[in-house]
């Protein structure tokens, strides 16, 4: 979904009107997609309710504090913490005012991070530090433990902070394609498409190869879900499931390799179109391959979800209640597995998916998230198989974008494997952006992990963590 605002459409309101508007929208069902400050001393809030997008703006509060929204609407708590960290604006009586991610000037700050402490001697802390035992990105999880039962989990991120937004605003925005692909290495097409749509809308060129982008997006979703299912089975030491799903994932990403030369879909997209077109025999080969994968995945998933020892581990581990998912505004698998039908492909569609229904589960536990991933894989495979015949075989569409129009704000929303990606940018002059805001679904969803794990045994934490499968670099940028 692409939306474009010119400078005149949004004029900064007064702070209290701004806040009362937001509260009123929240009461009638709107959810915040983004809430951030910019270097031009303006506070933006993007509110959305299945298709209806509203961008509100206001000046920075003068005495640098304002009554916090997240007291009664917890979905704002991560956004307000980030605003406080970046611009020092204090949301009064915010329940958990700590830095969302560590700013690199004071490396000392990460050591005395104010973790919640318990005065009683019997509660001890367990710190699973930045460098984990497996091959995953760094992040620190601090548990308050009563014996082996988790009382409270606090997640401290910021180790992956690379200063992405500053890099995106430096130099010519149109040449930032490979940088946008590195926002989150496993959602390359997701962030890449969002970046391309921003550049296209700011330089108002029309994207040609929308169908190939959707094809690559769905293939990436299948690959990501397969990798999560494989590592979920691996965490429970069910090596049969782990290896079969890993093998199928290799098939899928090898077919992405056959399209654009990279297993993750890097170099496939560029602003204005696609680097690699599809000729007819590629299309026929792809559709035959995907038919084979559909059958294979169906067999293996039925086998996986009927193994009793596996189900006993998945069943009601790490339950996330539906109203928590609603109140905290989670997106993607974390929300849909708890019965909240939030999906950018239906809420903010920019491509008509024929007969597309949002799949949801109700129980909100590890089984729900695993089974939902299987359902989404099958759904994406149907979309791919339906899409492939309609793609017109044509040469690589390469149309360099013309200059950007200064002073425009563009918003692009994409549904990646993990959830709703939101990119918002404002162009400064013909070449570069004044500010470029990226909101990865993991930025909001990390709170889901802390909520779902309370009361569980600590030996089930890695399973819950992998069932959410959230991105560290996506939320740290």
């Amino acid at each position: 979904m692409i939306v474009r605002y010119s400078k005149e459409d949004i004029e900064p309101q007064k702070l209290d009107i701004f806040l009362s508007d937001i509260r009123e929208m929240l009461l009638c069902g709107f959810m915040p997609l983004a809430f951030f400050g910019t270097d031009e001393k303006l506070l933006y809030s993007l509110m959305g309710k299945n298709g209806d997008l509203r961008l509100l703006c206001c000046q920075f509060p003068n005495p640098f504090h304002y009554p916090s929204l997240s007291v009664e609407f917890p979905c704002f708590n991560t956004f307000e913490r980030e605003l406080h960290q970046q611009y020092g604006i204090v949301p009064i009586n915010h329940p958990w005012l700590k830095n969302v991610r560590h700013n690199h000037q004071s490396s000392q700050e990460i050591e005395d991070y104010p973790f919640l402490r318990s005065k009683s001697k019997l509660i001890h802390e367990v710190g699973v530090g930045p460098v984990h035992a497996g091959v995953i990105e760094p992040g620190h999880f601090r548990f308050l433990m009563r014996g082996e039962i988790i009382e409270h989990l606090e997640i401290q991120l910021g180790y992956q902070y690379r200063g992405m937004s500053q890099l995106l605003c430096k130099g010519n925005l149109a040449h930032k394609m490979s940088l946008a692909e590195c926002i989150a290495g496993d959602t390359v097409i997701g962030h890449g498409t969002a970046y391309c749509q921003i550049v296209e809308s700011l330089s108002n060129t029309q994207s040609q190869a929308q169908d190939i982008r959707i094809l690559l997006l769905e293939m990436e979703r299948v690959a990501m879900h397969l990798s999560t299912l494989s590592s979920l089975a691996g965490d429970v030491a069910y090596i049969m499931g782990q290896n079969i799903f890993a093998a199928i994932r290799t098939f899928v990403i090898n077919s992405t390799l056959s399209i654009c030369g990279s297993r993750f879909g890097k170099r496939a997209l560029c602003p204005g179109g696609v680097n690699y077109g599809l000729n007819s025999d590629q299309i026929t080969r792809l559709s035959s391959e995907f038919e084979k994968y559909t059958r294979h995945i169906q067999n293996t998933s039925e086998a996986l979800f009927s193994t009793t020892s596996l189900l006993s581990r998945f069943d009601d581990t790490g339950k996330l209640h539906t109203n928590d998912a609603l109140r905290f505004g989670f997106t993607g698998i974390s929300a849909k597995a708890s019965g909240v039908p939030v999906d950018a492909r239906t809420d903010y569609p920019d491509w008509q998916y024929p007969g597309f229904l949002v799949q949801t589960e109700i129980s909100g536990d590890v089984y729900a998230r695993a089974h939902l991933r299987y359902l989404e894989i099958m759904q994406s495979l149907q979309i791919i198989l339906a899409l492939l015949p309609t793609i017109k075989p044509h040469a690589p569409l390469l149309e360099p974008p013309s200059k950007l129009e200064p002073g425009k704000i563009a918003i692009s929303i994409i549904e990646s494997a993990r959830g709703r990606i939101v990119h918002i940018a404002k162009s400064k002059d013909e070449y570069s952006a004044l500010w470029y805001k990226v909101i990865d679904p993991s930025f909001v969803n990390w709170q889901a992990l802390s909520l779902s794990v309370v009361g569980e045994q600590i030996s089930d934490f890695p399973l819950c963590n992998k069932s959410f499968d959230l991105s560290y670099c996506g939320s740290d940028l």
Binding site: P74, N77, P95, W96, I110, E111, D112, L116, R117, S118, K119, S120, K121, L122, I123, H124, E125, V126, G127, V128, G129, P130, V131, H132, A133, H140, L144, M145, R146, G147, E148, I149, E151, H152, D324, F328, Q447, S450, L451, V454
Partner: protein, 636 residues
């Protein structure tokens, strides 16, 4: 004998002048004489006898020393001076307000313990028994206000025990006509049970063992060391005295096995969750008495079923276990005393990394902990090995009635051994290893030589009797012959223990070899603990005593009674999370307290009479006289 007792009585003089140094020296001399006496009786002469005639109601008081009391005498005469020696240095560090009375009562307790072994006349025996209880009560009190409650509980329990004893002795006097212990041969059951229960109070068997867990933590370490390693043995001495003179039916043996097993289980279930060091050691005394009791039942079963091997092994297990228990229990109490002096706290959750600050105590405590959890190369293992072997002796042809009790002993012994090991490894790990959990353990310093010397002697004793079990077997041999048990089985056992010594020597040799190889060709570096590369690892990140035990607690839930206050996380952003848990003594809360409530309410009925006005008292006296007059005159 007389010189020894005389010297011990003389110790009262330095006690009055607060000279604890001389007090200890005199005590050591006196004990030496007594020890020589006991050894002589144990190995050469069969019996040592004196007669003192008293006025008619008491009659002839027969003071005799047989092999059984000589065996316990040797333990007392070795253990008591060591306890006094440790007490001397302990009191120097941690002075009591009134040293004179403390030393006086301490000396009196020692003397009465010795005399209890000598007396063969029940009334005089009771007198010394009371004297022992009273003096140990004053030692436990140690003139501290907060000890009053625990001390009183201890005293009252002892009096109830004594009441049972008195009842038992009087009934035997009525049936056998003499106060002498000779009357105890095959007496009828009621008095025997009463006496056994009376001794069980002192020995710390299940229903009557709550006083142990209350008295020991408050008593100064040397007193609790002496009490739990030797005072309890007097109770067990009484039980052994009765069992050596009587025959038991199978049902009685099964009942005794059940009581000892339940006692050991009750003690272990508390020991696992205990966070006060001395209370844990007190519960482990009850557990070890239970284990010795199981050995005793195995022995009795062997005698009853005419299985000589089982009988011999059972009784050897009992005597070895009592002897070794007094060694490693004293060792652990004196170590806990040293820890208390170093850190002024007994809560293990505030400790940590004491091994770094008190290296010698840590090394010696390791030997003590291995002994109490019956790990090989220490003496604790030998006694449990013999009891296990006794239980495995039941031939397959035996009747079901013999297999069931031995099976019960086998399962309980294995479970208690494993749970005991876990409990004490937990205590050692939380006390000595890891990072310091509080400022108390950070500021701990190694104790002076005086405090460490007795612990060193006891560690030496543990290791020598552990690695060369034949020494202990030779010490116990005359006693077994006195119990007229089968002696070639004993020779078999001695050859077996020789083999065990070879196994230990191989282990020591091989591990020394490996360590030398490691030291020669491996370079060692000191780095920080791997905590996932998180820079700031705080001591709170170590597992607390609760974590260590929670997988097991899941299983012991039906038999554990716990009170916990739990403040959960209220919302997604909690401000405070709390969890406190303690394991009070279920016996005390559910049996003793309600009982005392009923009794006090019953006596409260008579409050109206005690209203303090003398005229109402006179009125009551008058009424009574009138009633008596009518009674005498009216009904003539």
């Amino acid at each position: 004998m007389s010189i020894g007792i005389l010297l011990l009585i003389l110790t009262i003089i330095p006690a009055l002048w607060k000279r604890s140094g001389y007090f200890v020296i005199l005590w050591v001399l006196g004990s030496a004489f007594l020890a020589f006496e006991y050894m002589e009786v144990l190995y050469s002469r069969s019996l040592q006898e004196f007669i003192i005639t008293m006025s008619p109601p008491v009659g002839i008081v027969n003071i005799a020393l047989n092999k059984l009391s000589a065996f316990f005498g040797v333990i007392f005469s070795l253990g008591l001076p060591l306890g006094m020696f440790y007490g001397h240095y302990y009191l120097k560090e941690h002075p009591t307000k009134d040293l004179c009375s403390h030393l006086f009562w301490l000396g009196l307790m020692g003397i009465s313990m010795h005399c209890v072994l000598w007396i063969r006349h029940s009334l005089v025996f009771l007198m010394f028994w009371e004297l022992m209880s009273l003096s140990s009560f004053f030692c436990v009190l140690n003139s501290k206000k907060e000890n009053i409650q625990a001390g009183l509980n201890y005293l009252i329990t002892m009096q109830i025990g004594a009441a049972f004893l008195i009842a038992g002795f009087v009934l035997t006097y009525l049936s056998s006509g003499t106060f002498d212990f000779s009357g105890f041969e095959d007496m009828n059951p009621i008095p025997m049970y009463l006496i056994l229960i009376g001794f069980a109070f002192k020995a710390g068997v299940f229903p009557f063992a709550s006083w142990l867990a209350q008295a020991h933590p408050v008593a100064p370490s040397h007193v609790s060391g002496i009490m739990s390693s030797m005072l309890i043995k007097t109770g067990f001495y009484g039980i052994l005295l009765i069992t050596s003179l009587n025959r038991f039916s199978l049902r009685e043996i099964a009942a005794m096995t059940l009581i000892f097993c339940v006692s050991a289980f009750w003690a272990v279930s508390h020991l696992l969750f205990e966070r006060n060091l001395k209370r844990a050691l007190a519960f482990s005394s009850v557990e070890n008495v239970g284990i010795a009791g199981m050995g005793l039942c195995a022995g009795l079963l062997g005698i009853h079923a005419h299985m000589p091997a089982m009988a011999l092994l059972g009784f050897t297990g009992v005597f070895l276990h009592l002897f070794f228990h007094s060694i490693f229990k004293a060792h652990l109490f004196y170590t806990s005393g040293n820890i208390f002096l170093a850190t002024a706290s007994l809560d293990i959750d505030e400790m940590g990394a004491l091994a770094k600050r008190m290296p010698y105590t840590a090394l010696m405590a390791l030997a003590g902990i291995m002994a109490i959890s019956a790990l090989p190369m220490t003496n604790g293992f030998i006694s449990e090995f013999t009891i296990f072997k006794a239980v495995f002796e039941t031939p397959d042809a035996a009747l079901i009635t013999y297999i069931l009790p031995s099976l019960l002993i086998l399962i309980c012994l294995a479970f208690i051994g494993a749970l005991g090991m876990i409990a004490f490894l937990r205590i050692y790990a939380i006390l000595f290893l890891g990072a310091p959990r509080s400022s108390l353990s950070k500021s701990a310093k190694e104790q002076k030589l005086g405090n460490r010397l007795p612990v060193f002697f006891l560690t030496l004793a543990i290791l020598i009797t552990g690695i060369f079990p034949n020494i202990a077997l030779r010490f116990v041999k005359p006693l077994l012959r006195w119990f007229d048990l089968d002696m070639q089985q004993f020779a078999l056992l001695q050859s077996l223990s020789l083999k065990i010594t070879y196994v230990y020597l191989i282990i020591i040799l091989l591990s020394a070899l490996l360590l030398v190889i490691r030291r020669l060709c491996i370079k060692e570096k000191i780095g920080s603990t791997w905590a996932c590369a998180y820079p700031k690892v705080n001591p709170r990140m170590q597992s607390s005593s609760l974590t260590y035990i929670q997988p097991l607690a899941y299983f012991l839930k039906p038999i554990t009674y716990k009170k916990c206050t739990h403040v959960k996380a209220q919302s997604a952003f909690p401000t405070n999370i709390e969890y406190h848990e303690e394991h009070p003594d279920a016996l005390w809360d559910f049996i003793v307290k309600p009982a005392t409530k009923v009794i006090t309410r019953f006596f409260a009925l008579f409050n109206r009479i005690h209203n303090g006005k003398t005229n109402s008292y006179i009125a009551w006296v008058l009424a009574f006289l009138v009633f008596a007059l009518i009674w005498v005159v009216g009904f003539k």
